[in-house]
């Protein structure tokens, strides 16, 4: 009741303030701010999820675009509606509260007022003696408090609903917004996917394939030199050695390319096992905490593995940390990865510490990456990926 009362009285004040400050609220930015404030307030009262993310309620998912502000047209519509509803809903509350206060004062202190100005209870009954004061006073307090108890919450909720109805986007607008976000992220995903394919093609073309051709050339010359008469043993041996070393290098490179596409340990052991392997292999003692992950899409697993492996490489190389931690947890539709270390901090995208690469792969899956790494440390890197398909 208290909360509803405060809300209703606040609405009255804001309704009156809207009328008084009307010229000022014609500044669109202020109007939007004013509307946003009301929306937050209304949704807090209704206990709904933050109204700044209406999409969440529509789809059960977070809007990746971040807070959605009120449309200007709706903010302007809210001005007259606010003035009206504020007064209509707030005035009864004020009367109710005011009369309780009056009774509280009148009951013990009725005699202190002049004969002509005796306070009146039940609107029109003047208090002229203790008998009236001690019967009507408490009765008025009791009745009005009961009224407030019963009527304030539904009144306040009705006001909040009107507010949200005016200020929230319609389902259609929410869907349009969601489509816009999805269209953009989908284009990003396709770009990132294309870039990834080009990288793999380039790695195979310039690396492994070129090495194989070089090996074939050396073997071909070695075969020729072998049947030369007289045979140049030293040349043949040199060519064979080159070719042998070349095959080893080609295998190493191929392994690197394969690992960058889909780490084999993930295929063998799953995400949990792969993370165990990467944390035990880390140069800095690392605590691993993997929650119940359920089934995670392979693309998400690969990015998580890549992000953790890359981040721990950074920790070992740059942070001078003595301890690190990896925590992976899952909500219905999100997978969160938190990598922390107690090192010297200062990690960011620009210093070529591999964070840019992680960000690229995370964004490709419509996820988010946050780096909190003040100079002096500690560092916390959070990756969140949607995985509720």
């Amino acid at each position: 009741m208290g909360r509803s009362g405060v809300y209703l009285l606040g609405s009255l004040v804001s309704g009156v303030a809207t009328v008084l400050a009307l010229p000022l609220l014609c500044i669109l930015r202020l109007a939007r701010f004013w509307a946003n404030w009301h929306r937050e307030r209304a949704s807090r009262l209704l206990g709904a999820a933050s109204a700044s993310r209406p999409v969440r309620r529509a789809t059960g998912r977070r809007a990746w675009a971040g807070p959605v502000t009120v449309r200007t047209s709706r903010a302007l519509l809210w001005l007259p509606v606010n003035a009206m509803t504020g007064v209509v809903f707030g005035l009864p509350a004020l009367l109710c509260v005011g009369n309780v206060v009056l009774a509280v004062i009148a009951t013990p202190l009725w005699w202190a007022f002049g004969l002509e100005d005796r306070p009146r209870l039940f609107i029109d009954v003047p208090v002229t003696g203790w008998a009236t004061a001690l019967t009507l006073g408490p009765l008025q307090i009791l009745l009005l408090t009961a009224l407030a108890y019963v009527a304030f919450p539904p009144l306040a909720r009705a006001h909040a609903r009107i507010c949200l109805a005016v200020l929230s986007d319609s389902t259609e607008e929410q869907l349009a917004e969601r489509v816009a976000v999805l269209t953009r992220t989908r284009a990003d995903v396709l770009d990132a996917h294309g870039a990834e394919l080009r990288r793999i093609e380039r790695d195979l073309h310039d690396g492994t394939q070129a090495r194989l051709v070089a090996i074939a050339m050396r073997l071909a010359v070695a075969r020729q030199a072998f049947s030369d008469n007289p045979r140049d043993e030293r040349l043949v041996e040199e060519l064979l050695r080159d070719a042998h070393e070349g095959t080893e290098e080609a295998m190493t490179e191929l392994r690197g390319v394969i690992r960058s596409v889909y780490p084999p340990i993930l295929a063998d052991r799953g995400l949990d096992g792969a993370l165990t392997a990467v944390t035990t292999g880390c140069g800095v003692p690392t605590r691993l905490d993997v929650g119940d992950l359920d089934r995670v899409p392979p693309a998400v697993e690969a990015v998580v593995y890549f992000a953790v492996a890359e981040t721990l490489t950074n920790v070992t190389r740059h942070s001078r940390a003595t301890a690190a931690g990896v925590r992976v947890s899952r909500t219905a539709d999100r997978l969160s990865v938190l990598v922390t270390d107690n090192g010297t901090g200062g990690a960011d995208d620009r210093r070529g510490t591999g964070i840019a690469g992680i960000r690229r792969r995370v964004l490709a899956l419509d996820g988010t990456l946050e780096v909190d790494s003040p100079a002096g440390g500690p560092t916390a890197i959070t990756v969140e990926l949607p995985c509720g398909w």
């Binding site: 310039d206 394939q209 090495r211 051709v213 070089a214 074939a216 050339m217 073997l219 071909a220 010359v221």
Partner: protein, 216 residues
């Protein structure tokens, strides 16, 4: 025979140097990009050039463009383009640049030293060396009229399109020169082509036919 090479991958350029050196070629310059290649061609006036399709900085088709540019600057300059994958479009562009030998081969062919050296000599002499895969792609897409050819005529057509002369075709298929001559006559008749003299022009006629057949 003096050769200029455009190849940015050191492994491959040293391999080529080794292989061609033993075969009696003289490598006068190895450029690692298009600009260096054009400069080297201007300076050395080589007898034949070998160009990798992908060169720095963007590693797309700089090699093809450099080869075409070099042929514009030096009409008749023989160019053998090496690639790690077959793209019929590149072959068509090279063939349409007039005069002088052209070749377009998969890098894999390099390790068949004799065939590669043979192809390089053919290009240097103003002939053609088309990769069997390019020809196979073209033949495969050529459709109906090609289907009328006998299997043997198919083989002859493919070898002819790769740039081999009658003697080489006879040797590869183990038949007589006369036999080759007869097959070629049949092929040209079935495809409705005018019989041209052997060599580059014949190859061009066949390739042009295959290209056109593909387009319809």
């Amino acid at each position: 025979m003096r050769v200029v090479i455009a190849e940015d991958n050191v492994l491959l350029s040293t391999g080529l140097e080794l292989l061609l050196g033993r075969a009696g070629f003289q490598i006068v310059a190895i450029a690692d990009d298009a600009v260096g290649f054009l400069a080297a061609v201007r300076q050395h006036r080589p007898d034949v050039t070998i160009v990798d399709v992908r060169l720095p900085p963007s590693f797309r088709d700089e090699g093809i463009r450099a080869a075409l540019q070099a042929r514009r600057e030096h009409p008749g300059l023989p160019v053998l383009v090496l690639s790690q994958y077959v793209e019929q479009q590149y072959a068509a562009e090279l063939l349409s640049s007039t005069g002088g030998g052209v070749g377009y081969l998969l890098k894999d062919r390099v390790s068949r030293v004799d065939e590669f050296v043979d192809a390089l000599r053919r290009v240097a002499a103003g002939g053609t060396a088309m990769d069997p895969d390019v020809i196979a792609q073209l033949v495969q897409r050529a459709g109906d009229p090609i289907a009328a050819l006998t299997p043997r005529e198919h083989e002859v057509l493919a070898l002819m399109a790769q740039g081999h002369d009658n003697n080489a075709i006879a040797a590869q298929l183990v038949i007589t020169d006369n036999g080759v001559h007869k097959h070629i006559g049949n092929i040209f008749a079935k495809l409705g082509l005018a019989v041209t003299d052997s060599g580059h022009r014949r190859v061009l006629a066949v390739l042009a036919y295959l290209n056109a057949a593909r387009a319809t």
